[in-house]
């Protein structure tokens, strides 16, 4: 099946694809497949970039994933929306960090630390 271009996809399709990537990343981490995780990371960023380009910056649509039943999906959604909804995104990062659910809790902790010390500036 021909892979569709991101700019041909509706917002809800991008959100679905984004969630799918997060779930695959979660499994990749569980299986220790970091190369796969990193390839999926690039796909994730491509969707974020596409949504950012659209009128009004459609990354807000990813907030629907804040309650998704997969920690990596939630972590990705929180990070991706830091620039557009900083308070809500930060609250989710704090929840993930407080959950102690590895490895996403550790990643959320590092993200919060680098937000607070100014070395990470979401765009």
């Amino acid at each position: 099946m021909k892979k569709r271009l991101l700019n041909e996809m509706q917002t809800n399709e991008l959100v679905d694809a984004y969630a799918q990537i997060g779930m695959l990343q979660y499994s990749a981490l569980d299986d220790g497949k970091i190369s796969k995780y990193n390839r999926l990371y690039d796909e994730k960023v491509a969707i974020e970039d596409e949504m950012k380009l659209r009128p009004g910056d459609e990354r807000r649509a990813l907030m629907v994933l804040y309650s998704y039943p997969n920690m990596q999906v939630r972590l990705n959604a929180a990070t991706a929306t830091l620039a557009v909804e900083p308070q809500a995104a930060r609250r989710l990062l704090e929840e993930i960090y407080a959950s102690d659910w590895p490895p996403q809790a550790g990643a959320a902790g590092m993200r919060l630390r680098r937000l607070d010390d100014g070395t990470f500036k979401p765009k």
Partner: protein, 84 residues
């Protein structure tokens, strides 16, 4: 089961000319569970928005000892190995 890890890893130490004795010294050694070691190693290798899309390992390759130590210790704290 316990495992020894080094908050400042060898990667890129030749680029930054960090002496081997510092990398392999006792001050750069922490004993942790194998599971935690796996978790932190995976974090170091995974691409990350905070590091401009690079893995922390890739980002730190040409950074100073101080920067590498800081990130290493923060990783141990945020992954629940060391207390803040």
């Amino acid at each position: 089961m316990q495992s020894d890890v080094r908050p400042v890893c060898q990667a890129g130490s030749k680029i930054t000319r960090i002496p081997r004795e510092m990398i392999e010294g006792p001050e750069n050694l922490v004993r942790i569970s194998r599971l935690k070691r796996w978790e932190i190693t995976a974090w170091y290798q995974s691409k990350n928005a905070e590091y401009d899309g690079l893995s922390p390992r890739g980002f730190l390759k040409d950074k100073s000892w101080a920067e590498r130590q800081r990130v290493g210790l923060e990783a141990l704290i945020d992954h629940g190995v060391l207390k803040p």
